[in-house]
Point group: C2
Chain length 591, copies 2
């Protein structure tokens, strides 16, 4: 790939005003230039590829027809915002590799008045647009409010709640449905057959999900044809009623491998398009691979085992091959985490063995279902929480809130394994038991293996594991921070001679009162480590437990804050999550 | 009302098997007898009235046609389960006033094999049914899976996610849509125009929400005609594909005042049907009435003020008159809490002044929207959380989890007023400020008025109020437990001579480190009181704060558990939430 792209048209496009001056031919060139910039950037630093390539023409047409930021353009999930950023004063984030990290991969109001919301989770744009439209109406404004939502995002309940309300707004709201026939993976659900029918009938079918809700409806078969888009957007501009414009686009358009492998090119790693060395003969085990191996083996021998993913199978290594092997023992529910949890609960209640995989950031979409559908019914489903960790993620994709969100719900058993053997034991225990709803926080990072089979009976709830008995200081190191705990113990010994106790709590949802009480006689200080936000989390329960005693407690984890692409190392410093800083704290308490 | 109802048919109906033996005439009598039992019971102890009266015939028909519990009947929200309970072995809970409290007002698996799930929140039945159906398919079963969902519940996102997935199940699932043209209040949204069209065309309209999703569709115009229902249910029984049966019923059928005032008779208080004394000339102020007075006054003077309710306006005194006065400055979004939060966020971001009212139990339905749509965007919306308190509620309607769920989300300012003056000051501050998303936990119980205007600037976050400075023991008493704190202080003084410090923290989402530090010199013990679950809540943050110091801390509140109609007084004893028990604890710590 080259980094020097000739910008004939884009050279002079610095704002949406400049787009309005272009003729058709120039817009075609502009589209090509945007595509090249996007491809170059994502191949250099990684990023969303297919979604951005598919929406280039629609973005040009929106900015040609509407007057952003007076008119509001609200992009759902906003991983398709690159062309929008390029056209709204941020092209140097794409033209100059030195600026590749200047702008986020999502809409961000702090960057530009053309971005109304910081968005990264799906299915929110319509509801947000209804609020913006209602505010306009209350204030007597005239601006257009436009939500741009992908077909995949329409499977989420919030999108439907928004549509149901948008339809009766009684004034201007324009919902552009960007139908590229894909979610991250395949689309799932009855709605998609209707979208197919609409595509096949050029939007003419009577049976129409959108008109059934009361929308005025327009269809654009070639959603990558900028003239057609401009023509329809011009028609609906200033509409005095709710409108859906259904545009049929090609995900990954203009990049052959992306057009051909839509799932693989939804998001790509740096260098994906470069010539590659031959793949290594064997890949090392990961927590993902041991999970998929476990599920395949289990499912083969037990037809009641079923794996479930809410639309992000790639995140946990549920590859197309894995899904195909599982066949009817796999369900992708679409972007529908609420349904996923209720579905898993009912499967478990019906003596099936569901294993639902979700990212920490997206389990947030389902608190009430965890509480009411799952835990209140004590359904013995298994939920695997992936990626739960302090990281340099975007503010929209932090994975640190799952512990406070989930662990304070009654009945749930939330487990934090620290190595492969423990993880597999917990997983199999969970799948086979019938007493508790269980979640497992799959460790983040490289796989740790002890080589020693774990034979723990996890039915004995809240039993912590005393890994090494010492004195004075006890380190309670949860899940993926167990390794940090080990390093603190070693460093403390080395620098102070203190032989600390090391505990692997294993359970997030309860404390081992017996063990904690036993520490009182020979310890002065307990420190807790958790790879997530401290507030409402695991460590505070230990602080509470010791509240009336002489034991001192220090809780370590993330501060309650939205961090935005702050490097992990910087966060570790900020939160004092290093062996040196924690040893410093320990020494200052003990002296 | 009389309590002696002659049961000619029901006398011999003890299970669904007995229903199957009845002829049409007997079923009509049975319906009448069920109605009388329901009316008598709800007028005696209170309960859901309209929903149960409307579904009598459908319940009889379901049990006539299907074979529960082999076939699974899953009632959405399940506040319409009374006829079902009467027909499934629990009629003595209705015939004998001594047994009126024996069974819950919701489906409950511990009561009967005919209840698959404990359900009380809406919009869950379809997802649960899909799980039950999929488990059946994995195991090669043949039973029918039936979800019964009201029109109102269809506005919730989880219901849509369920429908979208149900439609592609590829096997038997029967969704009975019980369309009584009402939610708790009026229905809201585009879907309801489609339901109206379907009713007006006897189900024949081409534009059909359900067929657009791919369902086979049946319509029953008289959903209170048991023969018609039996005929259609018999047709769809054992269907090998997903089916919707849309039945048009009359909410409150058979009770004239309930038919005429559907909202008022959705749920009634004991004695509603009895002759009543004249209403008192003036009602005392409540937190509800001061809220509605405030909103009306504010909205009159500021067209950007808008009140929002997700389908439960009655719970906070948003009467039909109140709603009518607000006109376009009021939105009922339907049962769509996710949309409600995103909508409020966008309104606030657009310089309007939204005030969203939600019950503690139902704010659970919107964690991710609070996090992503609202707090990450720092939108200055106001959310009023009602009913947050330890109570004798059903397990499905506990109002104790809002503090752990909400207060660990960054950026949110969650306030806990202790009296009218503080509440109104916080409310007005919140509505007028533009810096923070704010939630206010409206105090539960009788209104407390100090008569002294509060002039606090709540922009100075996390500043606790030292109400009385004492020594040795500090009582940090949050929100509606401030009164308990006062009583502990008095009792402690009286019984031990200790002059405790009394603190009103006012902020739930942060701690006043300066004040807490200042306590160290003259206090040995801090106790925290919160009217909700302790785990992940307010008090634990104070335990954490003092973890490395010599200060002792005791946290009081509810245990993390689902309680089910356990009387408040019993819970207070269980959780040691009385002045006597807490004083005992304090003495044992200090000695």
């Amino acid at each position: 790939m080259t980094n020097t792209i000739e910008l004939n048209v884009l050279e002079n496009v610095n704002s949406p005003e400049d787009v309005k001056k272009l003729n058709n031919e120039q817009m075609h060139v502009l589209a090509q230039e945007i595509r090249e910039l996007v491809i170059n950037k994502v191949n250099t630093i990684g990023g969303h590829c297919g979604p951005n390539l598919g929406i280039v023409e629609a973005t040009i047409a929106l900015h040609y027809v509407f007057n952003s930021p007076y008119d509001k353009i609200i992009l759902d999930v906003s991983h398709q915002c690159y062309p929008h950023k390029i056209l709204t004063g941020r092209k140097e984030g794409f033209t100059n590799p030195d600026n590749y990290y200047t702008y986020t991969g999502y809409t961000a109001p702090e960057e530009s008045a053309h971005d109304m919301f910081k968005v990264g989770h799906t299915s929110t744009s319509v509801s947000l647009a209804v609020g913006a439209a209602k505010a306009r109406d209350l204030k007597g404004g005239k601006e257009n409010i436009i939500a741009v939502i992908g077909d995949g995002s329409l499977s989420g309940g919030e999108a439907y709640e928004g549509l149901n309300n948008a339809a009766v707004l009684g004034s201007n709201i324009i919902i552009v449905v960007n139908d590229n026939e894909m979610s991250i993976a395949e689309n799932q659900g009855g709605l998609y057959k209707n979208l197919e029918l609409l595509r096949n009938t050029n939007g003419k079918a009577e049976c129409n999900f959108f008109t059934s809700l009361g929308f005025d409806y327009y269809y654009v078969e070639d959603g990558n044809n900028v003239e057609e888009l401009i023509s329809v957007f011009s028609k609906v501009k200033d509409a005095d009623h709710p409108v859906v414009v259904h545009i049929h686009t090609l995900k990954g358009k203009g990049l052959k491998p992306a057009e051909e492998n839509k799932e693989g090119f939804h998001w790509i790693l740096p260098g994906t398009l470069d010539e590659k060395p031959a793949a290594p003969v064997s890949s090392p085990q990961t927590y993902q691979s041991v999970t998929t191996d476990y599920i395949l083996e289990k499912a083969k021998n037990d037809p009641s085992v079923i794996a479930i993913s809410p639309a992000t199978p790639g995140a946990y290594g549920f590859t197309p091959e894995f899904r195909q092997k599982l066949g009817s023992q796999y369900t992708d529910v679409g972007i529908a985490e609420e349904h996923a949890v209720a579905y898993a609960s009912a499967l478990a209640k019906s003596d099936a063995k569901p294993i639902l995989a979700v990212l920490s950031s997206f389990i947030q979409r389902t608190y009430d279902q965890l509480s009411q559908d799952l835990c209140l019914n004590n359904s013995p489903a298994t939920i695997l929480i992936y990626w739960g960790a302090i990281s340099g993620a975007d503010a929209t994709h932090l994975q640190v809130f799952d512990i406070p969100m989930m662990s304070n719900i009654p009945n749930l058993v939330y487990l934090a394994p620290t190595n492969k053997e423990e993880y597999l034991r917990m997983l199999d225990w969970s799948v086979e038991q019938t007493s508790f709803p269980v979640a497992i926080r799959v460790p983040f990072g490289n796989l740790v293996s002890t080589g020693v089979e774990d034979k723990t009976d996890y039915s004995i709830l809240n039993k912590f594991k005393m890994v090494e008995q010492g004195a004075d200081v006890a380190i309670v190191a949860l899940g993926s921070f167990f390794e940090l705990g080990k390093s603190i113990k070693a460093y403390l010994k080395e620098t102070t001679g203190i032989n600390a106790t090391l505990i692997n709590p294993r359970f997030i949802t309860g404390i081992d009162e017996h063990m904690l009480n036993s520490l009182k006689s020979s310890h002065k200080l307990v420190i807790t480590l958790e790879d997530g936000v401290i507030d409402g989390g695991f460590g505070e329960k230990i602080s509470r437990f010791y509240g009336a005693s002489d034991m001192k407690v220090l809780n370590y984890g993330a501060k309650k804050e939205f961090t935005d692409r702050v490097p992990e190392a910087e966060l570790y410093q900020r939160y004092r999550l290093t062996k040196e800083l924690i040893t410093e704290d320990i020494k200052s308490i003990l002296n």
